[in-house]
Amino acid sequence: MLANQIGYYSLILGLLSSLLLCAISIKDFNKNSKRVNQNIFTLSFLQLTFVVVSFLSLILSFINSDFSNETVFNNSHTTKPLFYKISGTWGNHEGSLLLWLLVLTLFIFLFLIKSREQPKKYRILTLLFQQIIIIGFFLFVLMTSNPFNYLFPTPNEGLGLNPILQDPVLAIHPPILYLGYVGSSIIFSASLAAVTQNYISKEWGQHIKKWVLVSWIFLTIGIMLGSIWAYYELGWGGFWFWDPVENVSLMPWLTLTALLHCILVLERRTDLTSWVVILSITTFTLSMCGTFLVRSGILNSVHTFANDPTRGIFILIFLFILIFLSLGIFFLFHKENNKDSNNFFWLSKETSILINNWFMMYFLAVVLIGTVYPIFIDVMSVEKISVGPPFYHKLIAPFLAPFLLFMAFGSKLKWIKSKIEEKKLLITFFLISVTLTFVILKNITTDLLFYTVLISAAFFLFFTTLKELLIKKFNNIFQTIAHFGFSLFILAVLFNNILSSEIITNIKVGEKYNYNKSEIFFKKIEEKQESNFNSIVGYFKITDENGKVTWLKPELRFYNQPVVITSEADIKTTFLDDKFLVMNLVKGDEYFNIRYQIKPFMIWIWISILLISLGGSLSLFNKKYEK
């Protein structure tokens, strides 16, 4: 009850402090003093506090199962474990928007205290642009999705959280992903501020790089967590489905990665300035689009949750305002000041980074068109279509091989002219990669040429980066780690793709299923009871062709509130492969529908993504660049 009131008024106070902040900063902007008015810091901190209080009171309502709060009523239940009561706070639309707000205000406050050495006018403008976004979100929350709606009479019991979301990984997936999304808002505001001040320069590059890195790392890990969750919870055994909801998180990642590489150029020489601004604007716009598409129900996705179209319209209008504002500012104020671009030569780092950007933009175009085209067709005609994974594979795979080769060469371009030995070594690596791939693939796959090219390229990048890691060339260690991780990622994904095998069958308790010298034996089922669900655990004995025995115990959970059945896959992970088994009861019959999969190198996919983000994180703490 009380928490409800506090949370709501705290939000309104937050909105008021936003307006006040705008007023003060406009006044301060025209003053001649060198330093930012102390009141701005105080107000920004106050605003953050208001949002934190509001967020905490929502969490409190969830913990206390205060069902006079509509959001709690819709998404919680007294029998739910405490951990999921808390994570349920952001597991729903209203709460997740509050989390957006929290991160927005947190980041602008951090930005203010971390940018003391930057020009005053630039800082104030960044604050202003950020406040525009924040005000938009305050209005959005208060007008269309207030998390503190009051319910009377107070129900005795809530509706419960969708059981599929009651999962440790999914509890932390939204906050991390949001840190990435919202981090791009700072880049957006800062680049607009820098454009108006004509401040896009080396110094700005060095300063904004940290923010780009932070949101890039969070976005990478956030996407990975979502992917891990989909892998074991949805029971399809895949980790990426090219589903629209996944695609919308991939798109800002692609532009952010492109931006990250451009910043590496910008922090050394004032170059590619317009491109950097465009990428910054695009990244944030795509993040917003992501929120819009997921929340509006426009997307026809298997991940879609029930939702409300008025919200979509609000975000859409807000999005258009932001896009027009930013493009307007860009065209009015932007001046090319490529002071050092005269000594541009073709075999340089800049070229390789531009090439990287071209690839990223191509991948972006593919994903964007694949995601938006069905919506377009739906609006234009009566046909309903969807775009399947083959579309993406067909368009992306052929460009992956040259992309990998450029990654291997790109970082070396400076040396190509000077060292002959280096060249010989590269050729040796190349030959080794091709032979190795050929030997491995000879007996396995049907599409030999295609995979040989792709995997050789990945091996080539693998070896070149591995060599640099081994001989400890520390001048570029972060990039090398990230690129090494990427080669590992591609290798793991490709081999996983080629070597995966799957058995689907319907089976009764006590039956055996035989397939090429292996056997699946369904020994028994056991029943278990937990506070908010009952479950059936199946005991499966799997004997592979070498006689090795694995026990897998998948589970079927019958949640009581809401009444939903979920199946929990059982996965045995080793460094070589994942054994994945999921079962389903069809129609309460005696037959269980089971899916058994062997997925080689699964764990290496996660490890490699962690390596990629590790490269980014290490570079964040590196002081050497700021010479």
Partner: protein, 139 residues
Amino acid sequence: MYGKKVKLRFIFLAIILASIVLTVFLILKSLKNNVIYFKSPSEIKSLIELDKKKIRVGGMVKEKSVFINSNEVNFIITDFKNEINVIYTGAVPNLFSEGKGVVAEGFLKDKNYFLAIKILAKHDENYMPPEVKEAIGDK
């Protein structure tokens, strides 16, 4: 005469334009071959020619229509005007049950039989795919 820099710029622009055109062409071309159309049972009944391509069929799983044996699951998808028999040999998602919405992906054997290769899962028991809603909308 134009300077060397202008020439370089021009070449650069030409390359950009060419690659954009190529990209769009490539993407649109493979879009055509890779889209999956969604049909309701009634739309399938009114087909003049059978489609060889992969399609999706959506509607409700008819009550008391699910039958299961050791290697397949059979059920009927209905939009309350027409219905179609589905033969499925894969894994069933956990929100699949009688009287609920469903989307199946696969190939038409004829106008009465559909060979499904995938049944799409969803996250939310209250959520119904927009197509299914539309397909059974005016029941």
